[in-house]
């Protein structure tokens, strides 16, 4: 049973009088526990697809079904609840809140959760430990390196234990060594059962993905599944 289903997803943007097709009739399905890579050249519609998958951009037509929920049939507030409960976002430029410490940034998704302060703190500390930032938890973002900021962003995306992690070019602004560390971290998470959808333009990252889809001019032109994907968990 597919965890994510994209059915004929089309997204048009109105640019002045012109209608730009960012996505055209994209159909795909992703299993639970899969590490999906979305690749393609600049302007191919990768980020738009991630945005549509993440419940942030309504498609012009088509359906996005995650865990049997047609997410764009939800009201705006229910869709916000869905994002909070199902999705974790890692943004291209980390997008940490500059005046909050690493731990407070990680706590952000829990600020509106109905759990005790002690439990929130425990979850945040645990995930910071997991990404190797326990000793940097009280630092502000500008006091952290790019790789550390990225790991804070990953911790924030994971703190509410979402079934699906969405990452938009998480290694885009990092050097190769730090990129390797981040990809290893994501791969470890995936090995533990975390479903991940990641946008990247770097073909070197393809080796980490179970499934890769290639976009060009908003169309899905290629789909590949790694041969050893089903032996990964062993």
């Amino acid at each position: 049973m597919s965890f994510i289903k994209l059915q004929n997803v089309t997204k048009h943007y109105l640019n002045d009088a012109d209608c730009v097709a960012a996505l055209q009739d994209v159909t795909n399905s992703i299993d639970e526990g899969c590490f999906l890579g979305i690749m393609g050249p600049s302007g191919s519609g990768k980020s738009t697809l991630l945005s549509v998958l993440g419940g942030l951009t309504h498609p012009t037509s088509g359906q996005v079904i995650i865990d049997n929920i047609d997410i764009y049939q939800l009201t705006a507030e229910k869709l916000a609840d869905f994002r909070r409960e199902y999705l974790g976002f890692i943004f291209q430029s980390h997008n940490l809140i500059p005046y909050l410490s690493a731990r407070e940034n990680v706590l952000l998704p829990l600020a509106v959760a109905n759990i005790s302060a002690a439990e929130k703190l425990h979850l945040a500390e645990a995930i910071l430990e997991r990404v190797g930032l326990a000793d940097r938890r009280l630092h502000l973002p500008h006091q952290l390196s790019g790789g550390e900021q990225e790991r804070v962003a990953i911790a924030r995306a994971l703190v509410n234990q979402p079934p699906l992690l969405m990452a938009d070019e998480p290694t885009g602004s990092l050097d190769s060594e730090t990129s390797q560390q981040i990809m290893t971290l994501l791969s470890d998470l995936n090995r533990d059962g975390q479903t991940i959808v990641m946008v990247t333009h770097n073909s070197d990252n393809q080796k980490w993905f179970d499934q890769t889809i290639m976009l060009k001019d908003g169309q899905l032109i290629e789909k590949s599944v790694r041969a050893d994907r089903y032996s990964k968990a062993m």
């Binding site: 942030l56 951009t57 507030e77 916000a80 609840d81 943004f91 997008n95 809140i97 600020a111």
Partner: protein, 385 residues
């Protein structure tokens, strides 16, 4: 961690903006507090001074005849007073609902006596009340205190050649002139003034009075209501408000208050505009941040709360500090305006009102920016995605 923590951290980080907002509202609130405190203090002082001009309610024996005099000029007719007012009935004044507004009750008995070979008007008064009420009386000597003492009006003293310490024979009784009034330009210049009981004995009117003047403390007191209440308890007397004094007093105070409120509302509107513009600027700067909140699952109501709690905190700080600055300005300003005669009084209603009004104005001004923030499309706000 709760949403409020984010607000506190944001305020801590953006101290400059927060200070700007606080100062903007503070100026508004302090101006309002200063204007209202000043108007209140000056109003009370004016009230006090006006009350020193004397009575504002007069009780006279019931009389069906129209008075045929104006400005002291008699135009004929005989003013026959059918009956006097019983002194004992004055106790009923204490039973009216607005008795707390009664500052002084000044009974008088009037009559004509022979003194120094001439007819002179004698007025018996309660010395403790009367001389306190008629603050404008300037006495050479002292007020009457006991039985056989008199204070002479300026014209009477001149006409009878009386001066301080002179003895005057009335009905074979010797009286001492203990005081001479300076000229007042009123009927008081033509009076001999004695203690009430002395006059009642001389005029053979024991236990009655000719008229009663009442000074009502009229800071918002309903004089017309008091007149009706007095008329009810004293059905055999005519009770009249000295309308001109009362209405002039009220009009002057109302004008001052109106002016103060006009300034207050204008300044508050400017403060609200400042909050609105600053919050709109803040929302524009925080578009990306709000996009993050929305992307990680904050509802519109959560974003709305973030903005409104921040506006509420800033407004509350501005309200409290604005009130304190306003009080300080009032305390410092009063001596300059009134030479230290008017005083500031703690008004809990104004204090609470200033803080609550600041919060309401701050929240109202922040509603539109907050709604705008809550309606931001997360993907549009983020752009990174």
């Amino acid at each position: 961690m709760r949403l409020e923590h984010i607000v506190f951290h944001h305020l801590k980080r953006c101290k400059g903006r927060a200070a700007f907002l606080v100062i903007g509202l503070l100026i508004g609130v302090s101006t309002v507090v200063t204007m209202l405190s000043l108007s209140d203090a000056l109003g009370r002082k004016a009230q006090h001074e006006l009350e020193n001009f004397g009575a504002n309610i007069v009780i006279t024996p019931h009389n069906d005849q129209l008075e045929l005099s104006y400005g002291g000029i008699q135009l004929g007719g005989v003013n026959l007073v059918s009956k006097e007012i019983s002194e004992t009935s004055l106790g009923k004044i204490d039973s009216i609902p607005n008795r707390r507004n009664v500052a002084a009750i000044a009974p008088k008995v009037l009559g004509v006596i022979q003194a120094g070979g001439r007819d002179v008007m004698l007025m018996g008064v309660d010395p403790g009340v009367e001389f306190n009420l008629k603050r404008w009386w300037s006495i050479d000597g002292r007020p009457v205190a006991q039985g056989r003492e008199l204070v002479a009006g300026a014209l009477v003293a001149q006409s009878l050649g009386l001066k301080l310490g002179d003895q005057l024979m009335i009905q074979n009784q010797q009286f001492e002139i203990v005081g001479v009034l300076s000229k007042t330009g009123s009927q008081d210049d033509q009076l001999l003034i004695s203690p009430l009981q002395t006059a009642q004995n001389l005029l053979t009117k024991p236990g009655v009075v000719s008229l009663v003047e009442i000074a009502a403390l009229c800071h918002d007191c309903p004089v017309d209501d008091m007149v009706k209440q007095l008329q009810t308890v004293l059905p055999d007397a005519d009770v009249q408000a000295v309308q001109q004094v009362v209405k002039t007093r009220m009009h002057a105070l109302d004008q001052f208050r109106l002016f103060a409120w006009g300034v207050a509302v204008t300044v508050i509107l400017i403060g609200a505009l400042l909050v609105f513009v600053t919050m709109m600027g803040s929302i524009s700067e925080r578009t990306r941040e709000i996009g993050i909140y929305r992307a990680i699952g904050y509802r519109r109501s959560h974003v709305l709360r973030l903005i409104l709690v921040e506006a509420g905190i800033v407004s509350a700080i501005a309200g409290v500090s604005g009130y304190l600055v306003g009080v300080l300005a009032t305390v410092c300003g009063l001596p300059l305006l009134e030479g230290g005669h008017a005083s500031w009084q703690w008004d809990p209603l104004l204090a609470a009102g200033a803080v609550i009004a600041a919060i309401i104005v701050g929240l109202l001004a922040a509603i539109q920016p907050a709604l705008r923030a809550s309606r931001l499309d997360p993907s549009e706000a983020l752009r990174a995605l």
